[in-house]
């Protein structure tokens, strides 16, 4: 029977099927960070258990840390400091490899996995973090888990899982000027809704997906969780293999040849059955921006704030009313007229070198508007070094952007980078929930190029009006 990419990876990892259909699924790579692990290690300790395969486990510190120079002098917040110290202590006690905070490889867990060549096609990858779906861009089955499941994987290298359904999101044609992977995934979520993928694993297909570089595919898979699906995937192809070949973790010699032979068998077979198929035309996607407090409340930048009175039912009307009030908007207002206080370019969604190049291309030779705080937070130490080698940091600094140290930063309001109540941000992150970037903060999600354009304009802006003035180099 023809199989999907998901079916193939799933079948290759089932250790045992239990009588009720639950599978004991083998996990090839377990990534960990400081926030969702302390209670899991406590559980291991209490039960006298250890880590089954430390070499298949990798820790990194990303959520809690400051992205300014203060990281070099010690973490100021005592609770953050304790959580980081706890991960460091657990790594030593349980023999888990951990990238040290001041190592050049330190970064956001979903940036470093692919970048170090640890996330490979055909793997099962988990992490106590919903955005683990990012690694699906490599052609892996990757999903987020809770802390109890983190403990389960540490102890057994397996998870108890029910099989998911297959869903294909097909994006055909060519993406228009000014659009990126971020615009694709926002348009997809706008179409299917935040629960549209619940119970499914999404495979992205079509020319527009094939044409994306690995960073673009990671952005798409990253936000798949915002569409309710636990995992997003892209079948591995030459773009994937060329990317892996440049990473330090790429299989070597004969292993490379045998890995490649297996990876080439992974794409979904002709005639494989999907439970749900959604199709989008890439050329109809305009630069996207969210206006509300759920990622599904997204519009083209040329759009206007919806009127709650036009809602199809009372529940939706009340929801829209609440959003309009929280976001400080007027129905009918043009999105392009909304002034921004803060611009954040970063997060596991959009902090890779390609994202920083996209922002720098728009910013070069221009300047951030008065009164706007614009920050660029590279996803890892390696991304930061690469950007500096290319002179992108100078371009951005000269344009008035802050150039910061790697970490999760303003994506989630648990480190010093936060919005103040009432502040409006243009953010390349993944969630616009109430209070996500700080209590009372108002978030508009968009692409790195769109964020750069907003920083220059001082309000949400159409990146198509901001063609690069001069080539990057």
């Amino acid at each position: 029977m023809p199989k999907t990419l998901f079916d193939k990876i799933w079948d290759a990892h089932v250790v045992e099927t239990l009588p009720d259909g639950t599978a004991l699924l083998y996990i090839d790579l377990h990534l960990t960070h400081e926030v969702t692990t302390p209670q899991a290690f406590d559980g291991l300790r209490a039960a006298g258990r250890g880590i089954r395969r430390p070499e298949a486990t990798l820790g990194v510190i990303d959520h809690n840390i400051a992205t300014d120079a203060s990281r070099y002098t010690g973490i100021v917040d005592p609770e953050s400091a304790l959580q980081v110290a706890t991960l460091e202590r657990n790594a030593v006690e349980f023999g888990m490899p951990l990238i040290p905070l001041l190592d050049e490889r330190q970064g956001i867990v979903h940036v470093i996995g692919p970048e170090l060549g640890r996330s490979l096609p055909g793997m099962t990858i988990v992490c106590g973090d919903s955005h683990t779906s990012t690694h699906g861009a490599m052609g892996a089955l990757a999903f987020g888990i809770g802390t109890s499941e983190v403990e389960h994987v540490l102890a057994t290298q397996t998870l108890l899982q029910r099989p998911a359904k297959n869903m294909r999101v097909q994006v055909d044609g060519n993406l228009a000027f000014g659009c990126s992977g971020k615009d694709i995934v926002l348009a997809v979520i706008g179409k299917i809704g935040t629960a549209g993928g619940t119970g499914h694993v999404i495979e992205y297909a079509g020319d527009a997906i094939r044409a994306l570089d690995m960073a673009g595919r990671m952005t798409v898979c990253n936000m798949t969780i915002e569409g309710g699906a636990r995992a997003g995937m892209v079948a591995p192809d030459q773009t994937t293999f060329d990317y892996i070949a440049r990473t330090p973790g790429a299989p070597k010699g004969a292993n490379w040849e045998s890995a490649l032979a297996w990876w080439r068998t992974l794409p979904s077979d002709e005639g494989a059955i999907f439970d749900k198929i959604v199709t989008l035309a890439a050329n109809e996607i305009a630069p996207q921006v969210t206006w509300g407090t759920s990622p599904e409340d997204v519009l083209p930048i040329t759009g206007i704030v919806p009127n709650p009175e036009d809602a199809p039912n009372e529940t939706r009307r009340a929801q829209l009313q609440r959003m309009v009030e929280y976001m400080g908007l007027q129905p009918g207002q043009r999105l392009q007229d909304l002034p921004v206080d803060v611009v954040f370019i970063g997060s596991c969604t959009n902090s890779r070198i390609e994202d920083i190049r996209a922002a720098a291309a728009i910013a070069k030779g221009r300047h951030v508007a008065d009164g706007v705080r614009a920050m660029v937070v590279p996803g890892s130490g390696l991304v930061k070094l690469q950007a500096e080698r290319e002179g992108l940091d100078s371009i951005l600094r000269e344009a008035g952007f802050e150039w910061r140290e790697p970490g999760c930063s303003m994506c989630l309001g648990m480190n010093p980078d936060k919005l103040k109540p009432g502040q409006r941000s243009a953010s390349t992150s993944n969630r616009n929930f109430e209070g996500r970037q700080g209590p009372g903060g108002r978030t508009h999600l968009l692409s790195p190029a769109m964020a750069a354009a907003a920083a220059l304009a001082g309000h949400l802006a159409d990146v198509r009006d901001y063609q690069p003035k001069e080539a990057l180099s």
Partner: protein
């Protein structure tokens, strides 16, 4: 994990869809390294004003819902971040059961690992239960996991679905790591086979 069998309790109505885990417990409260004590931050942004005082309009700040053990909401409850702190906060506050038309996958898993029962019932039933809950202190709702029914104050019963294995673990308060350890020999075999067929996975 605490076993869950039958619960008869006050239910708090929260007639909202897409209640995300940032709403259940904002990230700034995730810095604790223990599982306990998150209840005081449950729904912090809605439950408390900026100065730390209680928001009297929020359901869990009203009588009798301060003592609620059941929460009733609408679609896609628990979406967003995978943080298990969300069920920990619910449990620490005293909530043992959430009833909604559907749940986000990771949150659903996390609940079962902690003895918080997520009950899926159709939207119309959730709307009825919310009306029941709004009657106040005398209205008790019963959740019977063995029989897989929710019983309204008027005695009407509604059947809900639940996986066999999860039901078994929950009814008996079992730790699933212990269950999985019984398959250790099969995991050993799997690893030996994988090492031979995919040596690049173990080269690190």
């Amino acid at each position: 994990m605490r076993a869950f069998t039958t619960l008869t309790a006050i239910a708090a109505p929260l007639p909202l869809a897409n209640v995300d885990t940032d709403k259940i417990i904002p990230a700034r409260f995730l810095k604790s390294i223990s599982r306990a004590g998150f209840g005081k931050h449950l729904f912090a942004n809605a439950r408390f004003n900026e100065d730390g005082s209680e928001n009297p309009d929020f359901v869990l700040n009203k009588e009798p819902y301060r003592k609620a053990k059941i929460l009733i909401a609408f679609e896609n409850f628990g979406c967003g971040s995978s943080r298990e702190h969300a069920p920990w906060a619910l449990l620490d506050f005293g909530i043992r059961c959430v009833i909604a038309p559907d749940f986000a996958d990771i949150f659903n898993n996390n609940c079962f690992k902690n003895g918080v029962l997520p009950v899926r019932l159709p939207r119309e039933v959730c709307e009825q239960l919310i009306e029941d809950a709004q009657l106040g202190g005398n209205a008790r709702i019963t959740v019977d996991l063995e029989r897989q029914v929710v019983i309204r104050p008027n005695g009407e019963e509604h059947h809900f679905p639940v996986d066999t294995l999860r039901k078994h673990l929950m009814l008996n308060g079992l730790d699933d790591i212990g269950q999985t350890m019984q398959h250790a020999a099969r995991i050993d075999d799997y690893e030996a086979k994988q090492k031979a067929s995919q040596p690049w996975l173990v080269q690190a």
